[in-house]
Symmetry: C2
Subunit: 199 residues, 2 copies
């Protein structure tokens, strides 16, 4: 015996959420139907709206509902400096640290040859062209201090070596093996101020 | 700085799920947009379908997409016995134990005067009438062995005392203070076979 088809389908569908197993999915389904049908309706619409409206900024690849995102369009930002991060959550973490006023480039991942993720998949060809076209002065590499993040930073510093642009890596105030989005703002601020040129 | 409005709304909306805090909601949002937009679309539709189609069985109050649920309509079930449980998850747990072939009545809660939940809110007036109208032989009380569950069982046994129906309580093989839906099938089977009449 199972629940009715619509409940069964909702339980299956909730499994797409990271960290949600069969037991949590069942608990969530019964909770929503018993106690928060309005919340379920709001969530249904929010999911649809996000999927339909949110895409990547055509300049920095961060998530946005516009063609060019608000950060890229902001005239008060220093357009001569670009910080390269792995994910939109990293952009948020850096913004919340209040330590940076330049622009971003969001890789939406990192190099991972085993998974077939090469430079093109994380937009590095596009980024290379942007650095040249926009006459960027400094590229700050803020990929995660993991094996893949370091490899990605190394690849980028190598590619940009002869382009007359200063390339720096944020200091390792960020705990090794950790993920940027979980680091507190003051540690991140420290990491930005302690950045050093990549030889 | 925040994410774009559609992302921000999705993060807020995910908070309606039990056990999902701000950090999980952010992680889920970015995961869905980055890696599983199809899953997000499926989930959006499943939520809407469940909210629109699922209602309570007009006989036993369990969740169903029909007027009368499949268990109530099944001619192979013993219609002279009714098991009273608190939630649809409890029905599923009892069904999976394979120890019961009668019908159900789902309270969708338990008596809780402090929260304004009296007999009418959990359908006990309706259940009382059903016991008389359908000539039920036995009512098995399978509410949770918690303070509220016990109080609800006691109230029901009291109400049915003079109706010429056998009223029993499942044996406390179910761990005290525990919740029925998390108990394994064999413990539940044991609890059903060890039930005793309520004096
Ligand atoms: Zn942008
Ligand atoms: Zn029913």
């Amino acid at each position: 015996m199972k629940f009715s088809p619509a409940l069964q389908e909702l339980m299956e569908a909730l499994r797409c959420l990271p960290g949600v197993g069969p037991k949590s999915a069942q608990r969530m389904t019964l909770y929503l139907l018993e106690r928060d049908r309005e919340g379920a309706t709001v969530l249904s619409r929010a999911l649809q709206a996000a999927v339909e409206r949110v895409d990547h900024c055509s300049r920095c690849r961060n998530f946005t509902e516009l063609d060019i995102c608000e950060i890229c369009e902001d005239p008060r930002r220093d357009a001569s400096t670009v910080c390269v991060v792995e994910t939109p959550a990293d952009v948020l973490a850096v913004e919340q640290s209040g330590s940076y006023r330049g622009l971003y480039f969001v890789l939406m991942g990192h190099l991972s040859p085993i998974d077939g993720i090469g430079p093109a998949e994380i937009g590095l060809d596009k980024f290379h062209r942007r650095v040249i076209d926009e006459g960027i002065d400094e590229v700050i590499l803020a990929t995660n201090p993991t094996v893949e993040g370091e490899a990605t930073a190394y690849y980028l510093s190598d590619v940009l070596h002869n382009e007359g642009v200063k390339v720096s890596r944020i200091a390792h105030g960020v705990p090794l093996g950790g993920e940027l989005e979980y680091v507190d703002g003051s540690t991140l601020a420290h990491a930005f101020s302690g950045r050093r040129p990549v030889e």
